[in-house]
């Protein structure tokens, strides 16, 4: 993917690319440190339909959502020959009892036979996380298991 980087003297930097549907999409990183999500209008790729200011938390969450979806789709593709195995994503909510705790504490594999195969954090992927990885609010866990196992894993992550 070809991402264009353009300097905005005095203001910051724009990074964007053209989607297959003909829209320009990207971010503007302002010098003050804020990020704006930009999406061009359909009839004029030069202008922006939306320019949405995001806090760093929001930007990281959006990155996780987009990246997690991509990862989950790839995993689902790989598991499609194994019947009964499903891929699902769990996000760590602020009220989760496991935030700022090592992942091993939730004992998800022991209790429901579900494997956490990756964690998406701030747009980065942590593949095959060990039990010592500390979970943070906004982390997106990519889990593989049976439907029932995933349901109970979701319950554990939410309520302990």
């Amino acid at each position: 993917m070809n991402v264009d980087e353009t300097n905005l003297p005095g203001l910051g930097r724009r990074k964007d690319f053209m989607t297959a549907s003909g829209r320009r999409i990207g971010v503007v990183e302002l010098r003050e440190g804020q990020t704006e999500l930009i999406v061009s209008t359909w009839d004029d790729p030069d202008t922006c339909q939306a320019s949405i200011p995001l806090t760093s938390d929001e930007a990281a969450t959006l990155g996780n959502l987009l990246g997690g979806q991509h990862l989950a789709m790839k995993l689902a593709e790989e598991h499609k020959d194994v019947p009964g195995i499903v891929t699902r994503q769990f996000s760590i909510a602020p009220e989760s009892p496991f935030q700022n705790q090592p992942m091993g504490k939730a004992c998800i594999r022991t209790r429901c036979g579900v494997s956490i195969v990756a964690i998406m954090r701030e747009g980065e992927v942590l593949p095959s996380p060990g039990p010592d990885v500390i979970l943070h609010t906004g982390d997106l866990l990519v889990a593989v298991g049976t439907l029932e196992g995933l349901d109970s894993a979701a319950d554990i992550l939410r309520h302990g």
């Binding site: 353009t6 300097n7 905005l8 003297p9 005095g10 203001l11 910051g12 724009r14 964007d16 320009r24 990207g26 503007v28 302002l30 010098r31 003050e32 704006e36 930009i38 061009s40 004029d44 790729p45 030069d46 202008t47 922006c48 939306a50 320019s51």
Partner: protein, 393 residues
């Protein structure tokens, strides 16, 4: 009344009124500069209320305001940005200079203000307000637009042009001979180049010299350095403003960013006083006679800025609506036009009508600019649509 008490009361009343004006400007979403100028006109010679006590203070504060305005203009861009801006957009920059300097200069000659007047008025009509343009771009959500870098690089070029123009202007105003003028220009060019080179290679040393973790120390360092450099530059006949501007360019990176944050309130205060002081020294009754010319100049130079923006955006492969947006964003003139007119008036080398014309012109342009930027897009769209309709019928 005790003169000190009188000065304090007047100053307090003026600053308080400026606060009200700034709030009004924010409410209706316009630049406060025209309102400050109007405020100054109302308080000054021949105005509604006459203020005598604060004259001296207003004068010095105005000077500091100019220094801070230019210092922060220099802080705005890094040396690297200035270099790439210059390399990428010098053609557009030169076109901008020629198209927008000439109308002002021509009118000054027509009104019989001579070469000095032409030099001043050319500068007044040339320089766009980077403050208003940046605000328009942010307010209208055009940060991510493709024409925005085009607009910004033209503003960068204007910045650099100011660094060369101001020393020439100072020399012209001081009435130095042609040879003397050439020497000043040579010195100015050499200084500008040297500072840019130093800023590019050793900017971190300059930054280190003024930097401090303690915000109080940092503020005093930056402000002290700016006033010192400005004073030295002024003693060398290179114009105080240019010295401050060069210091701003030399300070780079995180230090520049912090300096901007810390100086902003000071700049706002002193610049506001500068605009008021400029208005104070302008007789409001001298404005109506030049209002017609100001209007002519406003229309002409709105057109030339538009043309500049359209040409520059077209070169970057931007479609029609974007070209017009780029042009309209450049229309606003503001703080730096008044800085130039202020330097000229202070030197006494130009007729007092010039101040009136510059005031009226900036009043018009600071209001027209943001309005044009906002409404150019629907207008362009409407005109293309009305042309398409008969074609389909």
């Amino acid at each position: 009344m005790d003169p000190l008490a009188l000065t304090l009361i007047e100053l307090g009343a003026v600053v308080f009124c400026l606060g009200l004006l700034a709030r009004l400007a924010g409410r209706i979403g316009m630049s406060p500069i025209p309102l400050y100028l109007l405020g100054g006109l109302a308080f000054g010679a021949g105005g509604v209320v006459k203020l005598e006590g604060m004259h001296e203070f207003a004068h010095l504060s105005g000077e500091i305001g100019v220094i801070l305005l230019l210092l922060m203009l220099g802080l705005e861009y890094t040396a690297a940005e200035l270099f790439t801006g210059l390399r990428r957009s010098w053609q557009a920059g030169v076109l901008d200079l020629v198209l927008n300097f000439l109308p002002g200069a021509a009118l000054a000659l027509l009104l019989g203000w001579g070469g000095v007047g032409a030099m001043v008025m050319g500068g007044v009509t040339y320089i766009s307000s980077s403050g208003i343009a940046a605000k328009v771009i942010t307010d209208l959500g055009r940060l991510g637009n493709r024409e925005t870098p085009v607009v910004l690089s033209i503003l960068v070029f204007e910045d650099l042009a100011m660094a060369v123009y101001l020393p020439i202007l100072t020399a012209t105003l001081a009435g130095v001979s042609f040879l003397g003028g050439l020497t000043t220009v040579a010195i100015a060019l050499a200084v500008v180049t040297a500072v840019l080179m130093v800023a590019l290679r050793h900017g971190h040393h300059v930054s280190k010299a003024v930097h401090s973790e303690n915000s109080e120390v940092f503020l005093l360092n930056v402000l002290g350095a700016a006033l010192l450099v400005a004073g030295l530059a002024s003693a060398m006949q290179v114009s105080a403003a240019v010295g401050a501007f060069m210091l701003g360019i030399a300070i780079s990176g995180a230090t520049a960013h912090n300096a901007t944050r810390i100086l902003e309130p000071l700049r706002d205060l002193f610049a506001a006083i500068f605009f008021v002081a400029f208005g104070l020294n302008t007789d409001p009754t001298s404005i109506p006679p030049v209002l017609g010319w100001a209007l002519v100049l406003a229309v002409a130079t709105a057109g030339t800025k538009m043309a500049t923006g359209i040409w520059a955006a077209k070169r970057e492969g931007i479609a029609k609506p974007g070209r017009f947006r780029a042009g309209a964003t450049l229309i606003a003139r503001g703080e730096f036009s008044i800085v130039i007119a202020g330097l000229a008036v202070a030197s006494g080398a130009v007729p007092s009508n010039l101040a009136a014309l510059a005031t009226a012109y900036v009043l018009l342009m600071a209001v027209i600019g943001p309005l044009a930027a906002r409404f150019v897009e629907p207008l362009v769209k409407a005109s293309t649509r009305s042309r398409q309709v008969p074609a389909q019928a």
